[in-house]
């Protein structure tokens, strides 16, 4: 079976590979949760490129309705056309705007659909998509036609845990929780993104990064994407590894910390700790 595997630039743990392959084999949606910045959205891109399928992205916002993923009836432009005497007005089909799922269902080839951050939407949103994701078909009231998927797309859904998802919805999905990578995996991830990084720099930076994460009281712990941004900055600035080296137990503000700490209070916390460390030292 042609499956999904870690690639040179995306390191997937074995359990993630199994979950993805199960979702592909049984053609059921895969729900991915995890800390922000651990590569939930990137996963869909990687799955699409690994299986060489087109990717259709549907980014959910707080105002997104489930119906918008299927189709929308643009009554307003039809009304305008009616007032202006446009001939198009006689066919209601001209005013049905296809949504992302419709595109995926009608596509010539099987595709990967990413429903990104499903928890941002209204609490009823997942319930409204139950049948559509289960049977991969829906009914268009305006034109009285049923749209069926030619090939069932591979659906990847991400969630940041802002809302609970309904049980009936969860029953239909495979679930995977992306754990925060340990140091070893992180080294592989860094290698895969920046193969020409200086080894000593990467080592010092990782040590500092994990120390920052362990600090109690941080509002937003930096994650993989922050680390990669920060490393890139360090490489651009040509920072010597010595600048990152710290003695045991003391805290210094990491250079170019703007890439790691995204919260004013966190920066303050660091400044306070660094001040105390200087006073003691």
């Amino acid at each position: 079976m042609q499956g999904f595997k870690s690639t040179t630039h995306y390191i997937a743990s074995r359990d993630l590979e199994v979950a993805v392959n199960a979702a592909v084999a049984l053609q059921r949606p895969l729900l991915v949760k995890g800390e922000p910045g651990t590569g939930k959205t990137v996963l869909a891109h990687e799955v699409a490129s690994a299986l060489s399928m087109p990717l259709i992205e549907w980014h959910v916002k707080s105002t997104t309705k489930a119906q918008q993923g299927l189709y929308e009836y643009d009554a307003v432009s039809r009304l305008r056309d009616g007032q202006l005497g446009d001939a198009r007005v006689h066919d209601i089909g001209n005013y049905i705007v296809h949504g992302k799922l419709w595109d995926a269902f009608e596509a010539e080839r099987q595709s990967v659909v990413l429903i990104d951050e499903i928890d941002k939407a209204d609490i009823e949103f997942p319930n409204d998509l139950l049948l559509e994701l289960d049977r991969m078909q829906f009914f268009v009231y305006e034109t009285r036609q049923t749209v069926r998927a030619r090939q069932r797309p591979i659906v990847i859904i991400t969630s940041n845990n802002e809302k609970e998802l309904p049980d009936a919805f969860l029953r239909r999905c495979f679930f995977h929780y992306i754990r925060f990578p340990d140091r070893e995996t992180m080294e592989r991830i860094v290698q895969s993104h920046y193969p020409d990084i200086r080894q000593d720099l990467a080592r010092e930076a990782l040590t500092m990064f994990f120390r920052v994460r362990e600090l109690p009281g941080l509002k937003k712990k930096p994650a993989t994407s922050e680390l990669l941004d920060w490393l890139k900055l360090l490489m651009i600035e040509d920072m010597p590894p010595e600048a990152l080296r710290t003695r045991e137990k003391t805290v210094v503000i990491p250079p170019l910390h703007g890439a790691l700490l995204k919260n004013e209070q966190d920066v303050h916390l660091f400044e306070r700790l660094a001040f105390m460390a200087r006073r003691e030292g």
Binding site: D15, V18, N21, L26, R28, L31, L170, R171
Partner: protein, 392 residues
């Protein structure tokens, strides 16, 4: 094939159904797991677990079913000693604290002996009458009986007599995972809704559109309004541990109900009475604690404050500085309760203890007075009365 495994999972409280089971078998048939135990484990996990909070429970069931291993008993005594010693040091260093404890009687002596025995004893011990362990009659240890005893590494107090609780408290957070019975609660809470139009204008305002179109000589002029949302803000303070163990189920149901009913919901935990700090996650209590002052600064008086707790404690925990069972509090619990009730104009206390017993517990009477009689039983009628009171 794996029916007993699924059965075990259900016993352990994971909401697994026949759908997931069939999915798992289907995936096996497709050869996803490929005869590797590890892959089978990953596959079963992706199929049967739908919530990261259940992962740990799943792992334990998996281990016991497929390797015949004993349940990990989670022996609580193994990681305690450092904690004891840290706390003992704390106790010994603060003289005023010692004075307060002296009033309770002979605390220092207890501590002194405990420390000595800790030095003598390096291993886990069970039974007997001298060593620190479980099930004995020594004043130190767990599950034993000695009215002056000190409880170590025990999840629930069996006799409710220990003077101090040493457990590194790892009570489950009230995860709101019990959907059973919450529906009626949700209905009762609905009364608290206060709709307001906020945010982006997405809904067609028909009367205004008609009006505007008419005055626009018939060419369409659309008017939109923002959607209606429940704008009520709730701040929930939950008592956890100790005597609340008897009411965990009721509290879980309540938490689950409010969590799905209100968009602006903030929940914090406290133990017995609110003092200078509350915390967000019980498991990571030290890291996630915030000062009660910050709480009042962060959440404005438009939040409705709901305490949930049985309010059953020693009266000193309410009226006396230093009365807390867990730490030295500079200011008495009543000062903090008064402060909170003064800041949040609509505040109420939900009490899971039986209402007809309230009058016999001094601390309940006290707290009820502090909240101007706004204490309600954690029952449907109580919830109803509370929402009526709070929506005034």
């Amino acid at each position: 094939m794996f029916a007993s495994f699924v059965e075990q999972l259900r016993v352990a409280g994971l909401p697994v159904s026949i759908t997931e089971y069939l999915t798992l078998i289907g995936a096996m048939k497709h050869g996803v797991a490929d005869y590797s135990v590890d892959d089978f484990y990953f596959l079963a996990r992706a199929t049967l677990v739908k919530d990261e909070r259940h992962l740990d429970r799943f792992d334990r069931v998996f281990a016991s079913v497929f390797q015949g291993l004993e349940h990990a008993s989670g022996d609580p005594t193994t990681d305690i000693p450092e904690e004891w010693l840290r706390r003992i040091a704390e106790k010994n260093l603060s003289p005023e604290e010692m004075a307060a404890i002296e009033a309770i009687g002979g605390f220092e002596k207890l501590m002194e002996t405990l420390r000595k025995r800790l030095e003598e004893q390096k291993k886990r011990h069970q039974g007997g009458s001298k060593w620190i362990g479980t099930g004995g009659t020594s004043p130190f240890g767990a599950y034993g009986y000695n009215p002056e005893g000190i409880r170590i590494g025990q999840k629930e107090s069996r006799h409710r007599r220990a003077v101090k609780v040493w457990d590194k408290r790892e009570f489950r957070d009230l995860d709101g995972d019990t959907e059973l019975g919450t529906r009626t609660m949700k209905l009762a809470l609905r009364r608290l809704r206060r709709f307001a139009r906020q945010g982006a204008a997405t809904e067609l305002d028909l009367p205004r559109t008609i009006h505007a179109t008419a005055s626009n000589a018939g060419s369409l002029d659309l008017k939109l309004v923002p959607e209606r949302h429940n704008a009520v803000k709730i701040l929930l303070l939950l008592d956890i541990g100790g005597s609340m163990d008897d009411h965990v189920r009721a509290s879980q149901e309540l938490f689950s109900a409010v969590r799905s009913e209100f968009k602006h919901l903030e929940a914090f935990y406290f133990h017995n009475c609110v003092y200078e700090r509350v915390w967000r996650e019980n498991r990571r209590r030290d890291e996630t604690s915030v000062s009660t002052w910050d709480l009042m600064r962060t959440y404005g008086p438009d939040y409705k404050l709901i305490f949930v707790g049985d309010a059953t404690m020693s009266p000193y925990e309410v009226v006396q500085p230093g009365g807390s069972v867990e730490h030295w509090n500079e200011e008495a619990g009543r000062v903090w309760i008064e402060r909170l009730a003064g800041h949040f104009r609509s505040a109420a206390w939900l009490n899971p203890a039986r209402e007809d017993y309230w009058a016999y517990t001094h601390s309940i009477v006290l707290l009820r007075q502090l909240l101007a009689e706004r204490m309600f039983p954690l029952t449907l009628t109580g919830l109803d009365d509370m929402t009526r009171e709070l929506s005034r």
